[in-house]
């Protein structure tokens, strides 16, 4: 069985928000960068899948931050993948560790493989040969798996076109941009105190360059709920529980 792999980060001046702490988006993006680097190191990256006309797609993500690290603070992200227990979803876990090794954040992400000619899901069995059995690590996930988010009744609605800086190599909106759009819709007061939080996100459908996106927001007690739609479908739902 494999080990957790650790990657070192420092909170750069470009990754802090106006509180001079790492933004939620930048920490989530660092976790996805680690996913990319670690997959590449182990021969299971999108580059490799692409040779077969396939790619990884982030389906769901849950993260918990006890605090947001300060500008210039050093931290590590540990990551590991569990043996596949689902036919379609591969689980990658994350722990965020401060300079003393104390855990201050954690996450669980669920990925699926799509054939991007057919625009269809591919069974993980079909790519299992890429995975070195010694790469799997059976340490449990550090927090609950991503939760379902349903029944949002929006009280605030914003519209925004998908632009160049939003899109990835498929010319679809990058998953992290949905998080950014949501945070930009929140009243700023939620973002001034660096409160502990849990974020659950479900990426359901793609949005394309030039599409008009609608961001719906509802505050339900201590939970901020969001839904982003393109012209045809729900693209992403998410909830931030402020703790």
């Amino acid at each position: 069985m494999g080990q957790k792999a650790k990657y070192n980060f420092s909170v750069s001046t470009e990754n802090v928000d106006f509180t001079l702490h790492a933004s939620i988006e930048s920490l989530c993006a660092d976790m996805l960068s680690v996913a990319g680097m670690d997959a590449r190191k182990n021969g299971i990256s999108a580059d490799t899948l692409m040779q077969q006309g396939r790619t990884w797609v982030l389906s769901r993500m849950a993260v918990e931050f006890d605090r947001m690290p300060e500008q210039f603070e050093n931290f590590d992200i540990a990551t590991w993948i569990n043996p596949h227990t689902s036919r379609l979803l591969s689980t990658r876990n994350f722990e965020l560790l401060d300079a003393e090794g104390k855990q201050f954040g954690r996450g669980v992400s669920q990925w699926c493989v799509i054939d991007y000619e057919k625009r269809a899901l591919v069974s993980l069995e079909e790519v299992e040969n890429l995975f070195d059995p010694n790469y799997y690590c059976d340490e449990p996930s550090p927090c609950d798996a991503p939760r379902k988010i349903r029944g949002i009744v929006p009280t605030v609605t914003r519209q925004r076109q998908a632009v160049y800086s939003d899109i990835d190599f498929n010319r679809h909106v990058n998953t992290m941009r949905y998080i950014r759009m949501m945070l930009n819709t929140l009243p700023i007061e939620y973002l001034t105190e660096n409160r502990p939080l849990r974020l659950d996100a479900h990426f359901a459908n793609e949005c394309k360059l030039g599409q008009m996106l609608t961001i719906n927001y509802e505050q339900r007690d201590n939970v901020s709920m969001f839904e982003i739609r393109n012209e045809d479908a729900v693209a992403c739902t998410a909830a931030i529980e402020w703790r």
Copy 2:
């Protein structure tokens, strides 16, 4: 006299655009991160100035990229500051070097110190005591200093409110966000080929959270010219020369 200092980077999955090459914004942001780290290492960072109610403000920037590095590519940014020759502007230089040490990009940035209570410029003489004379390096700038940009006659105009993810600790729009807004206004065709380019930018006035910004764009032969205004004044002008 000081030496150039080198910082290592890798193009992360979150820093590429849809071409799978580092975006212009991410390379510029990496250069500003280096400015922040190197200033901090040498006791002249914004943190130190803040103890006197002052901070660094980026006034002008010029960058040249011969090519954009690919996803996962490693590169170094070398940086050095020149002895002050202006009463108000401190010059910091950058070189971008590939894994073989070959220069593929370069930049010159000009910074001023402001007193943020008085909202007034401070003479560099007043902060000169913070600078170790051995920190200055008299290697010349690697490209022409930032050029003036004048007389834009916009043919395209977009509007966009300044939101949470745009702002820095002063609750002013982060300089890199202006670059993003400009690139998002360009026809996408300019961004598909990773053409060599030179970018000149002048950051003239601040924009605040919630303000409505107007992005003006004019294409003049091989130069894309931009002006961003808030409700009162020109905030930023820039030109991208496609080579």
